[in-house]
């Protein structure tokens, strides 16, 4: 019996996730259609760009500096064992631009912005504000989701540029001031091996992650049920869902894009 109920549980969960995936896909289609619907909501989009981009900057900066710094520490202690301490700058730069910049910045933004999108739209749902938009002949996807989607899509790559740069600077500070690497070695080794594609593919990833954050955040909010408790649940699911999707899609993006 326990085995059966276990299988039952797996089946139910699978159906649930397929159902959610279907809803995501439908919402994505509505958003894509909404992108071409005039008038484009410029003012709302710039508001969201400020929220997603400018306000997330401090969090992203701190995350990036300390990630770069700890990478330098760890790489140094490993590479010293075979005399390759000089390559710390290279490892920091490649790791930051290809993986950690996009992934960590996006996960931080998912926590900060994805959750607030879910909470805001969820509150609007349970207080009938989304219904009110419909009665005022306003498509709620066009009014609420499209600006958030476009803002995240545009701002995430910008944030990741900062994350890349500050990660490298964080690594530099530790390598030069703590580990005694010479400044020119660090800079030369960084520039010598870093290719443009390392950065550009990282930025493409960031754009994809931006879409994921907005889509999942908005979806969880938009389809909230069950009052304040439902809003809380939606917020959690937005963060967890977006973070997991970021990590999974990151693997496939790396496999196909690099």
């Amino acid at each position: 019996m326990r085995l059966l109920s276990g299988i039952n549980w797996i089946g139910t969960q699978t159906l649930h996730y397929l159902d959610e995936a279907g809803v995501s896909l439908l919402l994505l289609l509505k958003v894509l259609r909404g992108l071409f619907k005039r008038p484009f909501p410029f003012r709302l989009t710039t508001q969201q760009m400020e929220e997603v981009g400018v306000r997330s900057l401090p969090v992203v900066i701190i995350t990036a500096i300390f990630t770069g710094a700890v990478l330098a520490l760890q790489t140094y202690s490993g590479f010293k064992r075979f005399g390759a301490e000089g390559l710390v700058g290279t490892v920091v730069a490649l790791s930051m631009t290809r993986e950690l910049g996009p992934v960590l910045a996006s996960i931080m933004v998912a926590g900060r912005v994805g959750s607030s999108m879910a909470a805001e739209l969820g509150t609007m749902r349970v207080t009938e504000q989304i219904d009110a938009l419909i009665t005022l002949a306003t498509d709620p996807v066009h009014y609420l989701v499209v600006p958030r989607f476009v803002a995240s899509l545009i701002m995430l790559p910008f944030l990741v540029v900062f994350a890349d740069l500050l990660g490298i600077i964080g690594g530099y500070i530790v390598a030069v001031n703590v580990l005694g690497t010479s400044s020119t070695t660090y800079i030369n080794r960084t520039l010598q091996y870093l290719e443009f594609s390392d950065v550009s593919v990282g930025l493409v990833k960031a754009a994809v992650f931006g879409m994921i954050i907005a889509l999942i955040g908005c979806q969880m909010g938009f389809y909230t049920e069950g009052g304040a408790e439902g809003v809380g649940r939606a917020t959690t699911r937005a963060v967890v869902g977006a973070s997991i999707l970021i990590l999974i899609s990151n693997y496939f993006l790396t496999a196909f894009l690099f």
Binding site: T127, E128, Q129, D131, T135, L136, A137, T138
Partner: protein, 253 residues
């Protein structure tokens, strides 16, 4: 009276999962008429008006607005139909990120070519109609429940609709405020000549504002009549409801 009802609902059905909410509801609203739908909490009165304005899609049945069949598959003109409506929500549903005047003028900002200054003027005029002048720049969070409802009403009438849907307009207000909302509803009908559907379980309000009252029970509109006819109805369901008795044919399920 014209020969065509403003709203005609036929055999409307709507279920959520296994819970059947509307099970063949029929309703007609004529131009300038005030129809009140009474019924217990949670029987689907809101679902009825949300189907009419196209927030929810019915499972079966038809809805005609001014002779236009809005429930037809592939009907693409719903936003144009919605502009004939204003709706007051139970908790006003004001947009809490926007100031009062932006709330009231929301439809005008989006669907007219009026400049923001002009929209503010219109908003002030509508707010004066509901007795709230001089609050244009407040945020909804700064308003009391009764004020929010009146701002919601100002928003509902801002586009000069032909039809207003009121979802529990007096619920949650003290009797004096509730009565001032009733007066407003009557005044709007007399001044603007709008048709309306009001959802309520407040019988005092229903008697005061209704041309016709109809009761929703088990997914159907079971009896319709003028306030006097409803008062004198021998239908035991109606008698139980309008007198608010726990004993009778209607049982809690």
């Amino acid at each position: 009276m014209s020969d065509q009802p403003t709203i005609r609902v036929r055999d409307l059905k709507k279920a959520f999962g296994t819970k059947v909410v509307l099970d063949g509801a029929n309703l007609e609203v004529w131009p300038g008429e005030s129809v009140v739908v009474i019924g217990q909490s949670g029987v689907g009165k809101s679902v009825l008006i949300k189907c009419i304005i196209g927030i929810l899609t019915p499972d079966a049945g038809t809805i005609e607005i001014d002779g236009e069949l809005t429930t037809e598959a592939g009907f693409r003109n719903m936003d144009a139909v919605r502009r004939k409506f204003g709706m007051l929500f139970q908790y006003a549903a004001l947009f809490d990120s926007l100031k009062v005047w932006e709330n009231v003028g929301f439809g005008l900002m989006r669907h007219s070519n009026l400049k923001p200054d002009k929209v503010r003027e219109v908003a002030e005029e509508k707010l004066r109609m509901v007795g709230l002048p001089g609050i244009l720049d407040l945020m909804p969070s700064e308003l009391s429940g009764g004020m929010r409802k009146r701002v919601g009403l100002a928003r509902a009438i801002a586009m000069e609709p032909k039809i207003i849907l009121y979802d529990e307009p007096t619920t949650g207000l003290d009797p004096i405020r509730a009565d001032s909302i009733n007066d407003l509803i009557i005044q709007l009908r007399e001044e603007l000549g709008v048709a309306s559907i009001t959802i309520t379980h407040d019988m005092t309000s229903a008697y005061k504002i209704a041309d016709r009252i109809t009761m929703l029970y088990k997914g159907k509109l079971i009896a319709t009549g003028t306030p006097d006819e409803i008062r004198g109805s021998d239908n035991p369901y109606i008698q139980q409801f309008i007198h608010g008795r726990a004993e009778g044919p209607i049982r809690d399920e």
